[in-house]
């Protein structure tokens, strides 16, 4: 059994990072809008700390700091609020340790659908995915010919790493690729999606901080 080549380099990086967990942990909200200023204003009014991406293909992604620690109910509340204020569709997504993929979709402030790849994960039992009704999703997002693909991604395909499920779903729903694999914490420590430059992100901080 020989070590992987990157092991030693990894160790030295860890000394700087102090803490490293092996799977991906991130959360963000993609909002279907071209109005970046409106999204930023909404986040400021909600006293959120976040990075906000540039618009790409009609979507803007908010990488909200508190969202990364939020329970699903809190995440849904933020998603519905942003969706309502922007009068548009918002998709919150999170990945926990690459073991659990969760998302919810809201349209004009109304809940459309939610999904959890392993709803009983923290109970230590295996379970089938919950939610992810393709027809409901199609009410908010045009799926074109991707309905079967979305269903396969959410309910049939096995993923060792849940970020890969998120990537497949984002591709099928035409969500921006930079919504996959990134959250506030990763961006704050300098990691950047390939398709974004540093100046494509705007930092939102509540007044007084």
């Amino acid at each position: 059994m020989e070590k992987r080549g990157e092991e030693d380099e990894y160790c030295s990086r860890v000394i700087h990072a102090q803490i490293k967990t092996m799977g991906n942990f991130y959360a963000n909200v993609s909002v279907r809008t071209v109005n970046q200023a409106a999204l930023i204003n909404a986040l400021i009014e909600l006293k959120r700390t976040a990075f906000v991406s540039a618009e790409r293909g009609g979507w803007i992604v908010a990488y909200d700091k508190q969202l990364e620690l939020a329970e699903p109910e809190e995440a849904e509340t933020l998603t519905a609020t942003l969706s309502g204020r922007l009068s548009s569709v918002a998709v919150a997504a999170s990945v926990y340790d690459d073991d659990v993929f969760w998302f919810c979709i809201c349209d004009k402030g109304n809940h459309v659908d939610r999904y959890n790849s392993r709803p009983d994960y923290f109970e230590g039992t295996s379970s089938i995915p919950a939610g992810g009704n393709v027809r409901r999703i199609a009410e908010a997002l045009p799926l074109h010919d991707a309905e079967q693909l979305v269903n396969t991604v959410l309910h049939e395909r096995h993923y060792v790493v849940e970020t890969a499920r998120h990537a497949d779903l984002a591709s099928a729903l035409d969500l921006p690729e930079f919504s996959v694999g990134f959250g506030y914490k990763y961006l704050q420590r300098g990691e950047l999606p390939v398709s974004l430059q540093g100046n494509d992100l705007i930092s939102v901080v509540p007044a007084g901080q």
Partner: protein, 213 residues
Amino acid sequence: MKFDAFIVRDDCINDLETLSNHANVRQVTRLPRDWVLYEFHHDLFKDPDFLLEGIWQEKMQRLPELREARIDMLNQERALLAPWYAKKKKLGDADALLASEVCPYRISSLSPMRWIDLAPVAGWGSANTFTITLAAEGATPPAAVSKVAEEWAACGKDTGELDVASGLVGRDGSFMLHARCKYYSGHWIAGLWALLSDARWKSGVRKMNIALG
């Protein structure tokens, strides 16, 4: 003294006796609720260039026997965790890594972990006295937190290494533990972090702050 520290659920190792009898393993501590902490020592740690960025790789390329020794060391470390390696799904040599100024802690579990946001400070690995503040949901400590903290303190007392001055002291929705430590404080802090991050008992702790003194 440099070494690697491991904090693992006991189903990640073959058996405790094999672990305890391993020539390079020291300081095996049975933590509460199936968790085990141990140190792995090796002559390579005495090399002043060990894992130094930009130097170690070059040195290993230059000295094949050093590379062999490193591979042997890693194989020994990995053999002790054979059940975990056999079942793990993610890349890497642990489920989480914590680095103190004393040693890196590799934490492994075969069951879900709800990792607590840990805010370590410089010197947290070798402090004589430290205070842990747990930010939890609700105004009183969740029962699981109190119980785990109690068992952790009792374990520390049994080993003669840890003296927890008081139980969980609540203040403004946070809960504090003051402790005095004879051996490495990092062992106990990282151990409590793993214990409270174990998803089996839903500790409800969101953040763990460390202050020294």
